[in-house]
Subunit: 336 residues, 2 copies
DNA sequence: CTGAAAGCGCTTACAG
DNA sequence: CTGAAAGCGCTTACAG
């Protein structure tokens, strides 16, 4: 590859001049501009982004740290969150560095990445990466809240507890007392939040949530979310006692609906189904259409990116944003 | 941020030594290593990835060029392809730079990106970016074939024409003559390929495919793929004459199934439905389960990444890979 | 095992 | 409007 030196030499100018022709940071006469451009074209010269980044200490790249699960596949949540992040970054002229590489524990392997800021998905408890990024002085926004809470770090999160509370309150109002809750994987903080919210709704009515009717997703046990819903229904209906089922994703609800159809259980007449939704287009298109709480991952992603762009401009600001999710009433729930 | 110089000075060694402690490229005595590491920790030093990349001319980053549609959302295809690319890149220690920024036509804006290779989705006809990347000497793999074909460029593609041919052949064998084809958006080369394959199957039997029964997806007209399937059925059933419908995605098929249910049309007894599938988990979980051709976008992405990794090691090799998709028989088709 | 110095390809005050 | 030179933070022969 030709470098700025080659161009400067052949065009008979200094490299400062060539630099200015490309960056337009200072005016260059039309004659010289044309000469430089034509030499550049002849030589197949393109400015080297890495060299430029080193000189100006800016890459116009945002980093997204997102650990990949063991099987290497992305979940629907991750997928949609990325979609939201990209859309927003792109609108602000940033590109996105997707970093799914596992962390080493070798302190020698950390490096100051080629990014101007970082979005980090699902930080772990006492996540050491948070302190490290702050030490490096890299603007950071979390998706999901830090544990323990820390008002020096910006994040966006859903109101998971509140959303689950609303679901519980609604089902109780409809007269349901016994529910099957197909919760998220038990190692996720959202699973805890949701369980807590639901339990709170019960307590509010002086009732207590039956813990044994809460199931947890597991990648080992189920082939997919749909499978999780389908087989959980098949395995428990008739054995356990419930008049409503709450699912953690729309896809699990699709599985539940299918199982119900196959067993001849009318929804919502004999069974109510309600989803914590991450895919609004799917929830609207099942039969019957799903009553759900819409937690859109892409909104989380877009908002995180917005905060990050702001923080890259003004590193000192901290914002902690809770994205509200509210119940959307459709046709899959009924009072008993 | 502390630099390598700061560490070298405070530890009383040269920067070459500090460099070696972190890169492990030459042996450093245990004593010196410990001293350097402790000073680095004290100063909060982390090697600068950009500076390192400039020196070694390598970033360990793969680029993915993928134009974003007007509304900024990613399609299911894009989403899944990314998933495949990430999985494979990650397995080889590469990170992924997602580049959705639109192209300028200002020649001054092109730059030699901070990547070791590029995967480009859906190249346009006579795409100027291809020549430019080759000129820069950056390893390139296309997803979708170049137009015109060029045996100097590596790509992966589905056998779209063949897949559509198989669908046509199968439906004709079942006795269907008149079909509704919910094709992809008309500006995509896959839409042409698929139409051609289907038409070929008809010709093979001395029949001719009714062009007016081919519909095209449009982002303007439909809110989603499911909506596309649903409304197309609703608008045409009874008016047009067909005994089978072919959809371009699983989601469109979900919409078709829903419309059929609402209109009381039994599938597959009165209507056969077959999908060109990009989401196998969904196709298996509808009622009835969808007969489909499985074109998995994630396989395309993973294979593209595999080719790129190979090409970054040996830039001179060119591979053009067609990923076969074959019919999977489930329960949504029947002979008449 | 370690150091001094040149080099990677840009940008940017400073001077004219 | 343009040039000469120092600087961005690393790596890597070369020499010892």
């Amino acid at each position: 590859m030709a470098t700025i030196d080659d161009v400067a030499k052949l065009a008979g100018v200094s490299k400062g001049t060539v630099s200015s022709v490309f960056s337009k940071k200072r005016p260059i006469s039309q004659e010289v501009t044309e000469r430089v451009l034509s030499v550049a074209k002849e030589l197949g010269y393109f400015p080297n982004h890495v060299a430029r980044s080193l000189a100006i200490k800016k890459t116009m790249i945002a980093g997204l740290k997102m650990p990949l699960s063991k099987d290497g596949r992305m979940s629907a949540f991750e997928t949609q969150m990325i979609s939201g992040v990209i859309k927003e970054c792109s609108a602000h002229g940033y590109r996105l560095l997707l970093d799914t590489l596992p962390e080493h524990d070798d302190p020698t392997q950390f490096s100051l990445d080629p990014v101007d800021g970082v979005i980090m998905l699902n930080p772990r408890k006492d996540d050491p990466r948070i302190a490290r990024l702050q030490q490096m002085g890299i603007p950071l926004v979390l998706v999901g809240r830090p544990d323990p809470l820390d008002d020096a770090v910006s994040f966006v999160d859903n109101n998971n507890t509140e959303a689950a509370y609303q679901v519980g309150e609604y089902l109780l109002k409809l007269g349901h007392r016994s529910v099957l809750f197909l919760n998220a994987s038990s190692d996720m903080t959202v699973a805890l939040d949701r369980k807590r919210g639901l339990a709170d709704a019960y307590l509010q009515q002086g009732l207590v949530l039956a813990e044994e009717q809460i199931l947890h997703y597991s990648r080992k046990l189920y082939a997919s979310q749909i499978d999780y819903g389908y087989r959980s229904m098949m395995n428990t209906y008739g054995k356990m006692n419930y008049t409503a089922v709450i699912t953690d994703t729309d896809r699990a609800a699709v599985g539940v609906l299918r199982a119900a159809r196959e067993m001849g259980i009318a929804v919502p007449d004999r069974l109510s189904v309600i989803a914590l939704s991450n895919d609004a287009t799917l929830a609207q298109e099942t039969t019957p259409r799903l009553t759900s709480v819409e937690l859109s991952a892409d909104k989380l992603g877009a908002e995180a990116a917005r905060l990050l762009v702001e923080k890259m401009a003004r590193p000192e600001v901290v914002k902690q944003t809770i994205i509200d999710a509210a119940l959307v009433f459709r046709e899959s729930c009924k009072s008993i």
